[in-house]
Amino acid sequence: MSSSTSVGTDEHPAVVLTGITKRFPGVVANSDVHLTVRRGEVHALCGENGAGKSTLMKILYGMQPPDEGTIEVNGEQVRFRTPSDAIKAGIGMVHQHFMLADNLTVQENVVLGAEAMHGIGKKARARIIELSGKTGLNVDPGVLVEQLGVADRQRVEILKVLYRGAKVIILDEPTAVLVPQEVNELFDTVRGMQEQGYTFLFISHKLDEVRAIADSVTVIRRGTTVGSADPKTVSSRQLAEMMVGSELPSPETRESTVTDTVVLDVKGLKLMTPDGSRPILDDVDMVVRSGEVVGIAGVEGNGQTELVETIMGMRKAGSGTITLQDRDVTKLGTLARREAGIGYVPEDRHRHGLLLTQPLWYNRILGYQTRKPTARGVWLDTDGAKKDTERIVADFDVRTPGIDVPAAALSGGNQQKLVVGRELSGDPVLLIASHPTRGVDVGAQALIWDEIKRARAAGLAVLLISADLDELIGLSDTIKVMLRGRLVADADPNTVTPEDLGSAMTGAGSTSAAVQETSVVEEGEH
């Protein structure tokens, strides 16, 4: 079952992990992990969140020492105490969340911390330009990082590890922030570099991508490697079943439950940048009906976040109206809108959804501090909050030893289940779900999808924002494409493909009959 540890006679594999075990008091994060990465291949590591991928990568990158087992790089056994030991051995890591200073230039970001290699002047610049070609980065090293798009930022991250002499590059969920077209570009870059002898360890749970790019796949489940597969022959479904060890859920909703009752009606919504120079939301019109899921597709940073925050009242619209069940809520604050029946699953549960150091039941009160069962007038009802938290923990399968543990102690999927459970309580009429299953494991994802479908069938109106196009297509009754603050196209989820959506999202124009460009009246344009 586990990948072979037999070593080629003439050429040593780039990385061999043998019998890696890492225990934290009470839990075994990794047990007896075997992983062999041949030189010059793209090796994918798949597993659910919490399966132990990150721990394994931390061990390989020198951030934590293993309790048992050995690491071999190019046939030599090594022992990493710090990431700089790993970097010296030629291993580099590109983190999922970019670690770049926006207000520094590309060159400054690359050189930062590695000043001893080529100085900070012309020599460094020459080296960066030389390496830029390999990563497909076509910008001057003097450009500020804040002016770069997401894909280019990622290239800067790759450039950073190349500059430090990495031959084996760990890519941690590199496609999470990219649209399909950018993913293709990244894959071209990876293949190009592969030909020049670089080795990649590609961590992902997007299985189609794994199959597209990887030469071999190792699956990790519950802290141990459960097998490897040939991506040329295995199907995504088979891979996923290896990951979760059971039958897979699918996001597809069956019959339409859309009614004629308009719940949310947004008209002419406009929002300007703080300096008033350009619109973030430009004349957005949208209707969400009872029993309907309206999905918003778009590359991140095209106004989706702002749209949600404006509907929630966290940002003040420049003009336009927001009507909830025939009631004008444009002038109301966030709390009043919540009381009017909006549930809100924010895109970043750590920043917007939870009080991390507070117990679960205390988090139940957030957003419901004026309502039953968590409050009575100006007084909190802590007993009511605790009781209702118990209900959420039971109904939404939140895996926790109790409701008194701090929210930070739960895994991402369980935190998200708690947030979804909270936002679906109190009978909302509208649920705004921003990336509701981002960074959660397959089990939690299935549960969250089921709950959204169930609430929709019961007449809930849902506004769904997601970067996961399969989720968007699978759950939505209507899809709208957002580009530069405008809703530019409508798509039919029954016929549209992720690729069609992708090109509409980047403004490449519709290539499919499933995507209908919204007729935008360009008034007063010169």
């Binding site: 009470g26 966030t334 709390l335 957030l366 501090q369 100006v378 909190l380 030893p401 543990v405 930070a408």
Partner: protein
Amino acid sequence: MGHLRGKLLPPALAIVFSLLLCGVALVISGANPLSAFGAMVTQVGKGTTFIDIVNSTGIYYIAALAVAIGFQMNLFNIGVEGQYRVAAVVAAVVGGSIVLPTGIHTLVIIIVAALAGAAWAAIPAILKVTRGVNEVISTIMMNGLAIGLSAYLIRRDVFGELRGNNIRTAEIPESGWMPGISFGGGGTMFGFIFVAVALGIGYWVMMNKTRFGFELRASGESSTAASAGGVNAKKMVLVSMLLSGAIAGLISLPELLGRDHTFSLNFTAGIGFSGIAIALLGRNHPGGIAFGALLWAFLDKSGLALDNVGVPREIVTIMQGSIVLSVVVAYEVVRRFELASEQRRVGRELGTVGGAA
């Protein structure tokens, strides 16, 4: 269990550490640390020291509560110092110029003091809410203004009068006093101490049982999550700053109502700054603050004994400083440790559950 340990361990560690530090400082300066500490402890039983400590504790307690309300939502009200000074002079002027029945007179002075403190705090609060001015800067500047304003108000051509070589406001008539509890030679305990205790209880109830306390704590924990949860950040800044200022306004009342009955040049300054240290020490918890205030008062009052054993009294200041510094460090260390152990505990308990699933 672990919860309690996380709360009590850091201050205990910090106090031990700062005792050691001061011991070393004493040894270097050529004194015997044991006899110095011994002198401080025995001083408590001498003369009026014990009641002095109690009175001082009450004053520090109110000051620290005022600071703690702001701290709960990461609002640094450095201006408690100025707020209580302005409140003291306004309360003394008003109290000395009105005639009211006993009791009601006292009550009016208390309300005036709270309103004056709140009004002084309102300026930085409004600046922050409307213009985004950092409250640290503005409250520090307001402290400077408060000194000037109070000096102006007690000029002889304004509200002041010359008594001996001291300038002061008109004395508050006896109807406006608040009686204390006399212990004869042991001193007199301020009646306002009971108000301080009530404030502490009220603070606890507000923080733990009311919607306002929830919104305050949520804002302090994560302003982004609070705003997504419908907490109006501007309103919270305004209300908590006004409340902080109102309580700050009460700081000088134990002395004003119980002993001095006038605002003079002998005004006790610096309590607002001690309040910041004590709030840090007590982790904004009403019980912790009480302990911190007691410790502070003890160091202040029994430190007087150090002169008798030939040790400079300033060693107390070193001790206060090192306690605050080490407590901040110790809390952070213990907090990280606790969070990590909590995560491990959850992992462990779920590891058994997960195995069966």
